[in-house]
Amino acid sequence: MRPTRSLRLIFACLGLALALLAGPARAQDIPGLIQSMGEASLRELGGIVEELAATGDSAVAPALEALAEGDLYVNEADGRVVIVTRNRMYDPVTQEEIGPAADADLSRIRINNSLRRDVAAAIGGLTLMSDNPSVRLSAARSMRANPSEENLALLDEALAAETDATVRGAMETAHAVTVLSLADTSIEDKRAAVPVVAQNAGREAITILNSALGSAPDALAADIRSAIAGLEQERAIWAALQNVWFGVSLGSVLLLAAIGLAITFGVMGVINMAHGEMVMLGAYTTFVVQDVIRRNAPELFDYSLAIALPLAFLITALIGIAIERGVIRWLYGRALETLLATWGLSLILQQTVRSIFGPTNRQVGNPSWMSGSFEFYGLAITWNRFWIVIFAIAVFAALLVVLNRTSLGLQMRAVTQNRRMASAMGIRTPFVDAMTFGLGSGIAGLAGVALSQIDNVSPNLGQGYIIDSFMVVVFGGVGNLWGTLVGALTLGVANKFLEPYAGAVLGKILILVLIILFIQRRPRGLFALKGRAVES
C-alpha cells in the first residue's frame, strides 16, 4: 500500500473521530462542500477551500490533497465528486471504493498555483493535529514555508498539545516565522520570534529576517539586525571551516606528493626532478589494475585500490632503485647535475608512458566507497577527499615509524646528519642511498594511486605537482618530516584562503611570491637542520 493511501486512511479514521467529537452540524457540511467543488469556478473554489479549512476537520484533508495533486475529478455521469488513484474511484470523504475509473467519464477539477498554495496551507493546518508525529512535522514545515494568519491560531493550539520535542521545535519555528512575516502581529511577539527564527530556521533564517527587516519598526529593526549579524558571523565561520577543510585536503595531496621528495632530498641532497613521474607511474599502475579487474573480475572493483597500492609502491620503488644505481650514484656531490640528469629521466619516462598509453587522459574510476559525499554539520565533504586525507596521515605515520623505529630509518637519519661519520661507523651509505631513493619513489607511487582518484591520469600528471612539491620541501626544510607536514598544510590552507579573494591563479602566484620572499628570511626552510652539516 502506498503511504499516501495509508495516510488517507488515517485521516479518514481521524475525521470520523473528530466528526463525532465536533458534533453533527459540521460533519454534514463537509460532503456538501466537497460536492459543491464540482461546479465551482476557480474563484468560488478558493472560497470553498477556505470554508473546508475553517471546519478544522481532518476528514477534509484527503479531498484537499487530491485537489492539490490533481486527483479530484467530477464523474460526468452522476455529477459526483470523486478521488481517482490508480484507476479506481474513491469517495472523497469516506474513502470507500466506488468502482474502476476506466469506464467512467471523468473531468478533472482544475486549480491554479495560488490556489494550490492555499490548499497546501489548509492541509498543513489540518494535519497539524494528526496523531502521527511525522505528519505533524511536515505540516509544521509546510506552514513555515507558507506563513498565513490563520495558521497562528492553529499553531498555538497545536503547540499547547505537542509533546514531541522535534515537532515542537518545528512548530515554534513555524510560529515565529509566521509572526515575523505578518504585518499586524505585536512588536513584543515579533521580538520574541527573532531569536527563535535565528536559531532554528537554518539556511533560510537570513532571508526570512531580511524580509522582516523591510517592514519592521525601528525598535524591532535593531533586534533583527543584530540577529542577522550573528547569523552571518556564524555562516562566515562555517565558510572558513569549509575553506580549512579544502586547504587540508589540498595540503594532504601536497604532502603525499612532496614527502618522498623530502626524504631523498634530506638524505642525499639530491633534487629528483623525476619525482613527479613516479607519481604519474603510480596513477598508471592504478589504471592498469582497474583495467585488468574490469576485464576479468568486475566484482573485485571495490578492492582495486587495495591491490594497486602495494603494486604501485613496488613498481615505483624498483624503478627508483634502478635510477639510483644507474644514474644518480655517479653524480653524488654534484647536486645541480643530478637535477639535470633526473630531468632527462623524467622526459624519458613521460614519453614512454605517452607511447604506451597514449597522450590522452585515462579513465580511473572511484570505488563505491570513495564516491559521493557526506555532510558533517555545515561541511560538505566528498568521500574521496576524505579518504585521501586519511591516507596521507597514514602514510605520514608509517614513514615516521620507519624513520624512527627501524634500523634502516636509524641509518638514514645518521646519513642525513653526517654522511662521513655514518660511513666511518660502518653504515653502508651506498645501500642506504639506494634504499632511501627506493622508499621516496615508492611513496611517490602511493601518492599516484591516491591522486588518480581526484585528478586526470595523463602523462603530464606529475608535472603539475612537481613545482608545488618543491615549494613544500623548500618551505618546510629538509631532514625533518614534520617540516614537510607543516609546509604542505600551510601551503594548502593558504592557497585555499587566498583563492576566494584573489582567484585561483593569482592566489597561486601570490603563494609562489610569498615563498620566494620566505626563502630570503630562512634560506633553509622552516625546520632547517642546524650545525655543521648544513654547509656541506
Partner: protein, 401 residues
C-alpha cells in the same frame, strides 16, 4: 682602462669567434638576397630565419653560461628574462600594427578591443617608440634580475635552493602572463606583427637584417662575456663558483659578484628574447615554461659550460637536432632530449668543447711522453673501490657547478 679590458678580452679564441659571427652577419643575408633562388650558394629565407632564431638561442645559452659556467649559479629561470625581453619587443610590434588590426582600433591591440578594454593600460604607454621599447628590453629583465638576485644572494640562497626558486619565479610569471587581466594577450600572447621600424617583418630584407642583428648582438655578447671573464672580476667569479665560502672569507663581497653576473646575464637574455620575437612572429606565455629554461641549461651543458664558445655550439647543435627530430620523428624527440641530459651529465661533464680539449691534451701528451696513461675519472675509481662517491667532494676542491 676600457681599451685595456677590451684588449684582454680579445684573446685568440674570442677574436676568431667574433670574426666568424660578423662574417656570418654579412654573408648569410647577402647569400639570401644577392644570389637568386636556384643558384648554388643561395640561402633560402626560411633558413635565414631558422638560424637567426638559433643565434638568439645561442645568446641565451651564453647568458646562462655566464652565471652557471663562470659563477656557479644554476638558474632554472633564464627563460623568464628571455620571454620578458620578447614581450617588450612584442609590445612595440603590437603598437606598430595601428589600424591594420582586425578591429582597426588606432591605439588598442586587437585582444584588448576583444576584451572590451577602453583605453591603453599605463604599462603599454610609450611602447610605440622604438627607443623606449629598447630601453625596456634592457631594463625590465635587468631590474627583475637585480631585485630577485639582490634578495636571493644577500640571504645566501645557494645551490639547488636557488635553482628551485628561480624555477618558481618563471612558473609564477607563466601563470601571471596566462591571465587575460594582465593585459599581455593571455593565452594567445602577442602575434600578427606587421612592421618593425617601418619595414614589414615578413620581408626577406627584414629577415636578413634581423639575422645580421642577431649575429652582431651575439658577437657583442661574446665580447662582453670575454671581457668580464678575463677581468679580475671574472677571476673572482670563478673563485665564487669553486669555493664560495673561501672567497667570502678572503674578503670579497660574494653577493655583489653574483648579483653583477646575474643582472648582466639577464639583460643579455632579454636582448636575445627581443631579437627572437620578430623572427618567429609570436610571443606567448609558453616561453615562461620551466621546461624551456631547463632546456637552455642542457644546450649550455652540451656545448661546454665555463667556456665562451661552448654554449653557442651547444645551442645551435641541440636546436638543429630538435628541428630535425620534431619534423622527422616527433615521438623520439623527448627520448633523445632526455637521453642527452643523462648522457651529457654522466659522460660529458665539460661538454663538447671540454671533450675537444681533452682530446687535444691527450694527443699533446702522447707526443711528449707516450708511456703515461691518462688518469681515470676520480668518481669511477672510488665507486669501484666501494667508496662513497659523495664523500669525494669534500676531500678535493669541489668540481665546477
Amino acid at each position: 682602462m676600457i681599451t685595456q679590458a677590451l684588449l684582454r678580452a680579445l684573446d685568440k679564441k674570442a677574436i676568431w669567434l667574433v670574426a666568424i659571427l660578423l662574417a656570418l652577419a654579412v654573408a648569410v643575408p647577402a647569400a639570401n638576397l644577392l644570389i637568386p633562388a636556384g643558384q648554388p650558394g643561395h640561402v633560402p629565407t626560411y633558413i635565414v630565419t631558422l638560424f637567426g632564431k638559433y643565434l638568439t638561442y645561442a645568446m641565451l645559452a651564453l647568458a646562462l653560461d655566464l652565471v652557471w659556467g663562470y659563477c656557479g649559479i644554476l638558474s632554472l629561470g633564464h627563460g623568464a628574462f628571455f620571454a620578458l625581453g620578447g614581450y617588450a619587443m612584442g609590445m612595440y610590434l603590437m603598437r606598430q600594427i595601428g589600424t591594420r588590426g582586425v578591429y582597426a582600433h588606432p591605439t588598442l591591440p586587437d585582444f584588448m578591443v576583444f576584451l572590451n578594454w577602453r583605453e591603453l593600460p599605463w604599462y603599454w604607454q610609450g611602447f610605440d617608440q622604438f627607443w623606449f621599447a629598447c630601453l625596456m628590453i634592457v631594463l625590465v629583465p635587468g631590474l627583475l634580475a637585480f631585485v630577485f638576485g639582490f634578495f636571493a644572494f644577500r640571504s645566501r640562497v645557494t645551490g639547488v635552493y636557488l635553482s628551485i626558486i628561480t624555477q618558481a619565479m618563471t612558473f609564477a610569471l607563466l601563470l601571471a602572463f596566462f591571465r587575460n587581466d594582465m593585459g599581455f594577450g593571455g593565452n594567445n600572447g602577442l602575434t600578427d606583427f606587421k612592421d618593425i621600424l617601418g619595414q614589414p617583418v615578413q620581408a626577406a630584407t627584414t629577415r636578413g637584417a634581423l639575422f645580421a642583428a642577431s649575429a652582431i648582438a651575439l658577437a657583442l655578447s661574446v665580447l662582453v662575456c670575454s671581457m668580464i671573464v678575463n677581468s679580475k672580476l671574472g677571476k673572482v667569479m670563478v673563485a665564487v663558483r669553486d669555493a664560495e665560502s673561501r672567497t667570502r672569507f678572503l674578503g670579497y663581497r660574494v653577493e655583489y659578484v653574483k648579483l653583477f653576473a646575474f643582472t648582466v646575464s639577464a639583460i643579455m637574455a632579454g636582448i636575445a628574447g627581443a631579437l627572437y620575437v620578430p623572427q618567429v612572429g609570436i610571443i606567448n606565455p609558453g616561453e615562461f615554461e620551466p621546461a624551456n629554461s631547463i632546456e637552455v641549461v642542457i644546450w649550455t651543458a652540451v656545448g661546454g659550460r665555463g667556456t665562451i664558445v661552448g654554449p653557442i655550439i651547444g645551442a645551435v647543435l641541440v636546436n638543429m637536432g630538435k628541428s630535425y627530430f620534431t619534423g622527422a620523428l616527433p615521438e623520439l624527440w623527448l627520448f633523445a632530449l632526455g637521453a642527452l641530459f643523462i648522457f651529457v651529465t654522466l659522460f660529458l661533464p665539460k661538454g663538447i668543447v671540454g671533450l675537444l680539449g681533452q682530446w687535444r691534451d691527450m694527443t699533446a701528451r702522447r707526443e711528449q711522453a707516450p708511456a703515461a696513461p691518462p688518469p681515470p675519472a676520480q668518481a669511477a675509481v672510488a665507486a669501484e673501490r666501494g667508496e662513497d662517491p659523495a664523500t669525494l667532494g669534500d676531500v678535493q676542491p669541489k668540481p665546477a657547478e
